[in-house]
Symmetry: C2
């Protein structure tokens, strides 16, 4: 995909729905010229607001539909932004389930202007079914109390810290945003369900004994819509270590107002029990809490209390870094 | 799909790989004219062996590719049977992942002879993501120690017994064979993984308070390739009752020679724990053991011992019928 990017946020209802845009803006700001928001948009990546003309003038080469709504469909009234970008010489990329070429007018506009459409959630690759064979190398998977609680940021931050220390590590993207950021990976939630764990095995192949795959988790074992994806990824990734991610201000499971968030203490055992099928030696290596919505003192106390309570390193992957978790993983690796 | 059917078994390596054909032959024998097997085929549905010409002479209207291999792909050397059937005026139906029209020569032959191709594993329907809302009506899901252990037969037999008693019951097919038998359903393992539980919710909608959906299970929570599908179905079906299915002669998990079969006693708790997310009141209503490979006396003793050990009705759904399980479900329903 040609850079730089213009991040299109549509008119999404909250910041979480723009997590694709936020992720690209946070981890690859040098790849972006700005964001484009429609009236009523309640998300903001912090990048400059641009019109299509302004973005074109700044040299934007690709418009990224940078939202992540549940179900992954594209509202009809966003179409004119897509065709407008194509008319101004930009390619268009999306990570939604809706394929760009199937949106009325978009395929035709791309052909007319000789531009490319990228559906990063899809791959032409076919996967085998999972086999569950033990593979060489080490794997760490981030898992969550809920969806959208920092699994990707935590995995990216752990990878970055490992690279800083000169360890062998690869971030393994399993969702659209991670793929935009790392320019590779598999959108596990778009794989035909028979092949979830097979795709996860393909994504995390056998490697050097001291090499870490840091795998972005998906969904949550406690989310009624997505736990199947979570479990297939868990089995395919056969992690040696898990990091539990949590967002402490969340009132209910994402998109399910009737469903309570599980307590941290109730999450460890089900994850380990389910992981044991393909890796009975898996252990938790830490807890990652997204504290950005808490006052600073409260956040500090929460991290400290959680660490004491569970005897595991507890970090905010952005605010405090993932050093203590990587220390723990290095110890695991040495054993 | 036009009847009668000719069941094509190819040259599959064992009886289990022909379970689609066996299922149709066992439950809808009156819909079949016979079977067609290639040299080396190690499966047998018990129907008459026919050539394409003999089947055409007997009035076969549809050739069904009646196999269920892991991964669901079609060997190249089967193509000439498909095109041969089309040339003789038959439609062709398949439940494999490979879409018939994408097999070189098959799409063209269907067009040339004006015949139809049916890919029952696929649907044009799109599903919403799962919501986990409690729905009215009762649901019973069959689950397994492994894949291919009688989940579909048990669900069909329970439905038949309920219908015999005048209860309100619907069999809900979740795989290709069940769809061929009941002429409706959703192949859950072919759904995009983000929508597994949403598809299961669609399949088992709110209903009368005394109505039973008897849902065919898929895979096994203990199978490294397919547990994600199993869990998504479990969450979407939000069963009030589970029936554990088992095949006592199996040496290892289907297709995974390194993976042992779990013991019955270790299966109940993980299934109930995972089901509790969308139905905390779910209970086991029985055990269904496929004893057809055991000597008669050994089979009788196994059923009796298992019943005594776990305090649940234990049946062979074909040999002994599912009466005791339906008794148990009726009691559950009355409470």
């Amino acid at each position: 995909m040609e850079r730089p990017y213009l991040l299109f946020l549509g008119d999404v209802a909250d910041q979480l729905a723009a997590k694709t845009g936020q992720g690209i803006a946070d981890w690859r700001p040098e790849w972006c010229v700005g964001q484009l928001r429609l009236p009523g948009c309640r998300a903001d990546t912090g990048l400059a607001d641009l019109t299509l003309d302004e973005a074109a003038a700044k040299g934007a080469k690709t418009l990224i539909v940078a939202v992540a709504n549940s179900g992954g469909t594209m509202p009809e009234h966003w179409t004119e932004i897509l065709t407008g970008a194509l008319a101004r010489g930009m390619d268009v990329a999306s990570g939604l389930h809706t394929r760009l070429a199937t949106i009325p007018g978009v395929g035709k506009a791309a052909a007319k202007h000789g531009r490319k459409l990228y559906d990063v959630r899809y791959t032409d690759r076919t996967f085998d079914t999972g086999k569950g064979h033990k593979r060489a190398g080490l794997r760490c998977l981030t898992v969550g109390t809920d969806c959208s609680v920092g699994k990707k940021y935590t995995a990216l931050a752990i990878t970055k810290e490992m690279e800083r220390r000169g360890l062998k590590a690869d971030f393994r993207a399993t969702g659209q945003t991670g793929i935009f950021i790392s320019e590779r990976g598999v959108a596990i939630d778009a794989v035909i369900s028979d092949f979830i764990s097979g795709a996860a095995e393909w994504l995390t192949p056998g490697n050097d004994p001291d090499h870490w795959d840091i795998v972005e988790g998906q969904g949550s074992l406690f989310h009624a819509a997505f736990a199947g994806v979570t479990l297939g990824l868990l089995h395919g990734a056969q992690p040696d270590a898990l990091v539990l991610c949590h967002e402490p201000t969340r009132k209910h499971m994402r998109g399910l107002p009737h469903a309570p968030i599980p307590e941290l203490k109730d999450c460890f055992e089900p994850y380990l029990q389910m992981t044991s099928l393909t890796n009975p030696n898996c252990r938790f290596a830490g807890i990652s809490i997204d504290t950005h919505l808490l006052p600073h003192r409260m956040a500090e106390r929460l991290l400290k209390d959680t660490e004491d309570r569970f005897g595991l390193p507890c970090v905010d992957s952005l605010a405090t870094g993932t050093g203590p978790i990587v220390d723990y993983l290095e110890k695991l690796c040495a054993n």
